[in-house]
Amino acid sequence: MTMIFGIPLQAFLGQLLVGLINGSFYAILSLGLAIIFGLLRVINFAHGAQYMFGAFLALLLLKHWQVSYWVAILAVPVIVAAFGAIVERTMLRRLYDLDHLYGLLFTFGLALVIEGTFRYLYGSAGQPYAPPQLLTGSFNLGFMFLPVYRGWVVVISLVACIGTWLLIEKTKLGSYLRAATENPVIVQSFGINVPLLLTLVYGLGAGLAAFAGVLAAPIYQVSPSMGSNLIIIVFAVVVVGGMGSIMGAIVTGYMLGIAEGLTKVFYPEASNIVIFIIMAIVLLTRPAGLFGRDA
C-alpha cells in the first residue's frame, strides 16, 4: 500500500476530501457572513439557522410535495432570501442606528426562535435526505472512490463562491455594494437606494446560507441543531480570513476545511480544535485577519 508520511494514501486522500467538503460549506457560509458584515455591520448569528432552514425546507418539500432536489436547490435559497429580506425590512433595519451589539443580539435571538420552532415541530433527531438519483454512485479515481455527490458539492460550491465574488467585484451592482460598504451616505446622495441595497444583501446572505443547507442535506443529517454546530466554526473562519473580506472568506473557508481534514489524519485528537488554535494564532499575530484590510 502506498504510504505518505507514514499514513496510507487512501486515508490521507479520504480526509483531504472530507476537508474539502467541509471547507466548501465553510466557504459559502463565511462568504455570506462577510458580505452581510461588510455592508450592514451586523454579525449575523442567524446564519446557521438560515442554513438549517434551507436544509429543512428541502426535506419538507420532498416529503410533502415530492419536490425534487433540483427544484429545491434553486427554489429554497430564493424562499429563504425572501424570508431574510422581510426580517431585514421589518426588524433588523430598526437597529442600525444603535450599537452593533443589538444587531448581534437580535440575530442570535432570531436563530433561537427558528431553531426552537423546528425542534418543536419536527423533534431534534436527524433525518436523512437521499441524494438525487443522478448524483448517486461514485467515481473510481484509481487511488480512491469519490462519491459523485461529494464531487458535486465541491464543484457547485466553488461555482457559487466564484459567482458571488464576480457579482461583487465585477458588476455595477457590486460596485454599489463596495462603495456603500465604505461610505453609504455618499452613495445614497448619488441617487442609489442604499436601504434597498441593505435588504438585498441580507437576502443574498440568507439565500447563500440556505443554498449551503440544501447542499448539506444529503451529506449530514437534517436536524434543527445542524446550523448551530457549524456556525461557531464559520465565525472562526471569518475571524481568520478578516471581517468583510470576500475573497478572504472564500480562501480561508477552503484552507481551514483542509487543515481540519489533514489534522484528522495526523493527530485526530486535535481535529476539533485546530481551527480555533489557528484563530488564536492569527488574532495574536494579525488581528485584522489574513486578508483583512485595516488593523
Partner: protein, 233 residues
C-alpha cells in the same frame, strides 16, 4: 434666469444642538454662489441640510419649484442636485473609472466619459488605479468629474480647494469657469474668497448658524472691512 434653489428659514440640529438658525439663500439658474464663513459657523451643515444628508431640519427648501423637505436622500440626485463633500468621498476599493461610473446618470445632458477625460486628462491616465492612490488634487477632480457625468443641474461643492497646492487650485478654478459657461448652477462653500471671487457671482456670509450678509461679487472691494471683521482675516 429663473430661481433654481430657494431656501427660507432653514433650521438644523445635530442631536440636541441647534446649529442652523433660519438660513435664507436663493440661487438662480446658471448662477454661481459662494458661502463664506469661518470654521464651524454652519456652512457645511447648510449644504448637508439642503442635500438631505442631515435630516433633522426644518424650514423651506425648494428646488426647481419642488419642495425638497420630504424627499429621501436617494432621490435628491434624481431631481438634479449633485453633491461633492469636503472629504471628497473617493472609494478606495473602486478603481478611478469605477468611481467615475458609480453615480447613476439622472438626466441626458451630462458629460460623456470622453468629455470628462478631455477636461481631466490625469484621470484618464490613472483610470485603472485604486481611487485612493490619487493625489489630493486628483481626488478632488475625480469627485467633481463623477458628478458631471450624471447630468445634474446644480453642483454643490464643499471647500473644493482645501489643502491643495496653488497650481491645483488654479486648475479647479478653470474647471468651475468651464462648467459655468456650460450653464451649470453652482453652490460653493469656501474659506478662500480670493479663489471664489474669480468664479462666483454672489457671496453669502455666515456666522453662528445664520446668514449675516450677502452681496454680488462686484461689491467685494467695498465689503472687505465687513469680511475682515466676520472672517477674522
Amino acid at each position: 434666469m429663473g430661481e433654481m434653489l430657494h431656501v427660507r428659514d432653514l433650521n438644523a440640529w445635530y442631536g440636541e444642538s441647534h446649529v442652523l438658525h433660519g438660513v435664507d439663500l436663493s440661487i438662480s439658474d446658471g448662477e454661481v454662489v459662494t458661502i463664506l464663513g469661518r470654521n464651524g459657523v454652519g456652512k457645511t451643515t447648510t449644504l448637508r441640510a439642503i442635500v438631505g444628508i442631515l435630516r433633522q431640519r426644518k424650514g423651506h427648501i425648494s428646488f426647481k419649484g419642488r419642495d425638497m423637505i420630504p424627499v429621501p436622500l436617494h432621490r435628491t440626485a434624481r431631481y438634479g442636485i449633485g453633491y461633492v463633500p469636503e472629504e471628497r468621498g473617493i472609494f478606495s476599493t473602486l478603481t478611478v473609472e469605477e468611481n467615475l461610473l458609480l453615480p447613476p446618470v439622472v438626466a441626458g445632458d451630462g458629460m460623456s466619459l470622453d468629455e470628462i477625460y478631455a477636461l481631466f486628462p490625469n484621470l484618464h491616465e490613472r483610470k485603472t488605479s485604486p481611487g485612493t492612490k490619487l493625489s489630493g488634487g486628483e481626488q478632488q477632480m475625480l469627485a467633481i468629474a463623477r458628478i458631471l457625468r450624471t447630468g445634474v443641474d446644480m453642483l454643490i461643492l464643499d471647500e473644493p480647494t482645501e489643502g491643495l497646492a496653488p497650481v491645483i487650485v488654479q486648475r479647479i478654478g478653470e474647471v468651475l469657469k468651464a462648467l459655468k459657461e456650460r450653464g451649470m448652477t453652482i453652490l460653493l462653500v469656501e474659506q478662500n474668497f480670493r479663489f471664489a471671487s474669480k468664479v462666483t457671482d454672489h457671496f453669502y456670509l455666515m456666522d453662528h448658524g445664520e446668514v449675516v450678509g450677502q452681496f454680488p461679487v462686484q461689491e467685494l472691494p467695498d465689503q472687505m472691512p465687513m469680511l475682515n471683521r466676520v472672517l477674522g482675516v
